[in-house]
Structures are given as C-alpha cells and as structure tokens.
Amino acid sequence: MTAVQPAPVAGLRQGRAERSDRSRAERRLGLLLSAPAVAIMLLVTAYPLVNAVYLSMFSYRITAPDDRRFVGFGNYTTVLGDALFWQDVFTTFVVTVVTVAVELVIGFGLAMVMHRAVFARRTVRTAILLPYGIVTVISAFAWKYAFDLQSGFVDSWLGLGDRAWFSGRWSSLSVVVLSEIWKTTPFVSLLLLAGLAQVPGDLGEAATVDGATAWQRLWRVTIPNMKAAIMVAALFRTLDAWRIFDNVYVMTSGQQRTETLSFLAYRQTITRTAIGLGDAVGVLLFLSVVLIAAVFIKGFRVDLSQVRGDR
C-alpha cells in the first residue's frame, strides 16, 4: 500500500514535525487571515453559549422574572435524574444510529452510480441530489400527509387499511426516520462521491490484474482509500441527526414518546418558558455534540495512520 497518497490532514501532521522558518511564517499569516472570522465566531457562538451556561444555573421563567433565583447545578441534577431525559436520549440515539447507518449504505450506492454513470451524468446527479434541495419542514409535511390516515396514500397503496402510523411510538419514528433518510442521503452520497473521485483508478486496475473480484476490490481497495471521506460523511450526519428537530416537530410534536433532545430543550425553554431548566438541557445537548465530535476525530487519527501505513 505504499503507493497511497497521504491525505491532506496527514500532510499537516508531517509539516508540524519538521517546522521551518518559512512554515512558521506561513502559519502566522494563516492565523492572521483567519482572525476576523474567529472573532465573529466568538461573538455569535461563544456569547450565547456562555450566557446559556450562566442562565442554566438559575430557576428562571420569563413569565415570572422577579422569582429568579440561583440554584447552582440544581437544574442539571433535575434533568439528569429525569426519566423523560433518558427516554429522549434513547429516542435520539435510535434515530441517529439507524439513519446514519442506512444513509451511508444507500449514499455509497448512489455515489457509485454518480461516479460510474456513463450517459446522462448531469441528469443522474441532479435527480439524486434533488431531495437535499428541499426545505426540511416542507419534506416533513409531505411525508406526514403521505402517511396520514385521512389525507395519505401510503395505507391504500400498501393495502394496510386504517393503519394509524402516528398513533404508535415505533411506527411514528419509522416515518420520521424514513423522511430523514430520504432528505439527507444525497448529502452523504455527495461527500462519498468526492471520496470516490480521489481513489486512483490504477489501483483498481492493478487489483483486477492480480485477479481480485469486484467485491474484493470494493472492500480491499476502494473503501480503505476513501476512509477519510466516509468518516467526514459519518461525522457530519451523526451531528445533524443527533440534533434532529424539524421532522419531529412537524410530524408528531414529540407525541407517542418520539421526542428528541433538541425538542425537549425547545419545549422547556420556549413552551414552558423555564429558561433555566431548558438551558440545562441545551448545555447537555451541546456537551454531547462535543463528545461525538471528539470521538470521531480521535477515530479519524487512528484510521489516517492506518492509511499512511504507519503500522
């Protein structure tokens, strides 16, 4: 596997090892150039974040601002000790795992189709990417009405009679998951297409000459060489799926135990106007997102070193 080109991220690592004056100057310029963006990011993300952490320490409702009182980490113990929170964590987890897994498989297939398409290439790509161009709320409504007993066509098409999809937990969640998969698989396939394009064609040819079957070429040549793209797609989609809100809001409003973490934070903060409790949920959601990102990025390094043949 010595012929494999190091991925761009790996290149950075190498540069750090043997840093010269020139690279240090480049680095300084880079920091300088990105400084304004960082400053704006701090302003629009760090301030609300710090404010949320601060407010999560209070028992505070916007309809009774005079009753605000400091409770320390009380809101966090309330949230973490509440069965509803863990139920929502579980729901969010199921939605995330199922959607990301299915999207990676289907997305890979679609990426192959886009990569290999011989004729009508642009039409194929446009058709595959179309769902991603639709606003989530609108696609959620479309799926909701399709499965709705009174306005929907799914029951009559599948001969299911009067099946009430939104009256049960898992049937509601499966519609939510389906719409999520339909909507975001194109995004995954786009990222994977970029990865596929980076796999050098002569590797596959060499494997064919050595007598590898198509299946072996896929698992031994193509996929290992696009691991970085797969990880990026998985990371982006996991973070998005973990924060899922629109579909649930439109289709079930969190009924039948289909509530997700974002929705829980929304309901405590906006509906119940319990700012302190809601912000505690929000901060926990943020921490879980950081955790997911950290796990993935750690996972990344291991994979990258394997690709580079450091073992």
Partner: protein, 422 residues
Amino acid sequence: MAAVAVVLAGGLAACAGGGGTPTLTWYINPDDGGQARLAAACTRESGGRYRIRTSVLPNDATQQREQLVRRLAAKDAGLDIMSLDPVFVAEAANAGFLRPFPAREAARLTRGVFAPAVRNSTWEGRLYAAPFWANTQLLWYRKSAAEKAGVDPEAPGFTWDALIDAAVRSGTTVGVQGNKYEGYMAWVNALVASAGGQIIGDTEKGEDASIGIGSPAGERAAAVISRLARSKAASPTLSTDIEEQARSLLNGPHGGFMVNWGYIWRAENGDARDGVIDQGIPADLGWAPYPAVDAGRPARPPFGGIELGIGAYGRYRSTLAVDAVGCVTSTANMKKYMIDSGNPAARAEVYDDPEVVAEFPMARLIRDSIGAAAPRPITPYYPDVSGAVQSRWHPPASVRPETTPGRSSTFIRRVLCGQVLL
C-alpha cells in the same frame, strides 16, 4: 452619508404610519378574515383618530401564546392589542404583560357578558382582558345514527356511557379531541368538572395550590376516557385527532357522534355547499347538550373563545387602544362577528337577535351551554398544569381510572415546583 440618513429617516417615518394617524397593531388568531374586517370597521368608526392593523398569530393556541409571551417579555411596544385564549390571561396578567382595565372601563366591557368569560379575564380581582367571543362544545350527531341506535341525545341526563353504548350499537364512532394538545386538556377538564371536581383549586397559592385531579371526580373522568378509547366507538386515530379530524370522522362512513365547538354548523354547511362533503349531511346533523358524566349531575362543557388584552408597553395603552377594544367588543360588533365568522358572541343578549337565531338554529343551546361551561384552571402556571395533565393522560388508551388520576396529581405538584422536566 447625510443622504443615507435622510433616506433612512424617511423610511422610518413611513413605518410609523401614514401621515400622523396613530396605528394600533392587533395580533389576531387566524380566522376567516372576520377580525380584519372588524379592524377596518372600527378604523372607519374612529373617524381618523386611529387605524387598526392586524397581524396574524400561529394556528394553535399554544403557539400563539409562545409568540405573545416572547414579545411581551421583551417589552414589545408595537403590541397594542392581542387576541388571547382565555386560559392564558392569568399568566400574562400575573407577569405584568397586560394593562389592567380600571373599574369604570371594566364595568362597561363586562356588561351582559357570560360569567365564565369574565372569570377567565379576571386576575386578582382586576379585569385584564375584554371578552370578545365565547365558545363551548355541543354534542353533534348524525340523526340517522342516533335513530339506528335508538337513542335521543337531547334527552336530559344523556351520559357519556349511554353515548358510547349507542355508538357501539350502531357501528358508529364518537369523535373527540384526543391529540396531545390544548383540546385534549379541554376534554379532560370538562369531564372532571362534569363529575363534580376540579383539576386544581386555590390557584392563587401558586406552588401550594390544591390539586384535585386525583379525586373520585378525576377517576370518573378517567373511566370515561379509558372506556371510549378502548371501545369500538373510538376513532382509529384517536390519539392524534384534533377538531377537524373529529369532524371528518363524523362525515365519514362510520360517522355518528362527536363533541366539538360551535364552528361546526358553519363548516358543515359550507363544505356541503362546496361539494366537499355529501350534500345531505347538514340535514342529518343534530345537536344536543354536552353529555353528562353522571345522569344526576348536569354536564359542564368546555369553555373557550377569545379575550382582547392590551399590551402593557404600547404607546396608546390607556387611550386609543382602550377605545379600539371597546369598539371591537361592542354588542353590535360581537353580533356582526358571530354572523360573519360563526364564532359565538360573549354577550347573552346577542343570542336573542332574530338574525342570529335565523343563522344559528342552535343559538339558544350554545348560549345556555356557555353559561354552564367550566373554565379550565385559572392560574399563572396554566401551561405547566395543562402540559402535566397532557403528559400523564395521553394517549387516551393508556388512561387507567385506578392509577392515572393519582399519578398525574403527584406529577402536577412536582412540575409546579420545577422538580421535573415536562
């Protein structure tokens, strides 16, 4: 730079309202344009003293409250008048979001108004909102289904049990609002009140309010819900049905009975005229008082409607906004709105008007039902109480008379103390 400033200033002046006539912004719940027409009528009536501009709020009551609360918490001076669901008046009043009406204005605005509407608009002895229209539910039914089942829903003491039996016997359904939303809370509250109890009392004590949902009345209410939800008379989508689903159930092949608000008469006639539903349905449509829980105790139907509040931060809150509210809620305009939009007036005298009686054959029944209606708990923590009840009583098929009321009582207490998520 100066040119830019001039242009900007011109733009801002334009926003403030054409040529000096003060503009009042009225946040309305969505209707078929009736409130906007009233706004235009009152603008004309004011003879150029003010202009009322309407701004439409989201569809359901909970989302309307969300938007109003956010604006008011930010002290929005551009919120002059708002159409408020009665259940949210206490919360807004307690938070200081509404301008109270002094006794003299209050007397004028509440003269001849139904008692439940006045009670819902009052907080700590002061009137915070002007009753605009009042609503209640009736038992709507297909005469053919009642005949087939051999019952007379108009008979005094017609109970939920008799209703469910009749529907099962005739192979029809009983439509209710079983979705996890305000409408379900309205049903639960009506059942508890009809059984002689109340969900929560002594509400002015805040966290220490007495919670009555765990009482025998709560158990009777739970028994009715549980029985309907598990019977053949339940809608297949009971746990997600709102008013319109219940109506389409009534119009469908298994349609028989439903409890629903006063707008049904207008909606059914309109749909029949437009060919959306069978032309023969309006003639087959009957109405009766809300069913009782126990034959010996009169039913307490749900109470709804809209009250007009004046924002505490508007520039014209004590002058033009008061005049505008007086104009919109005048007896003549209530009648106009009732005939225009089909929403029942908040003053009893309107129901004796020949035009109203001609338009709404059930006008007298609506009037008497509103008079007998039981308001939902009047408390600044209403959204919490309602959310807690919905959380523990939904889906309807999960309700158990032995456990649900007691557990929900404990849960409401913990929610009020901020000890749990909701």
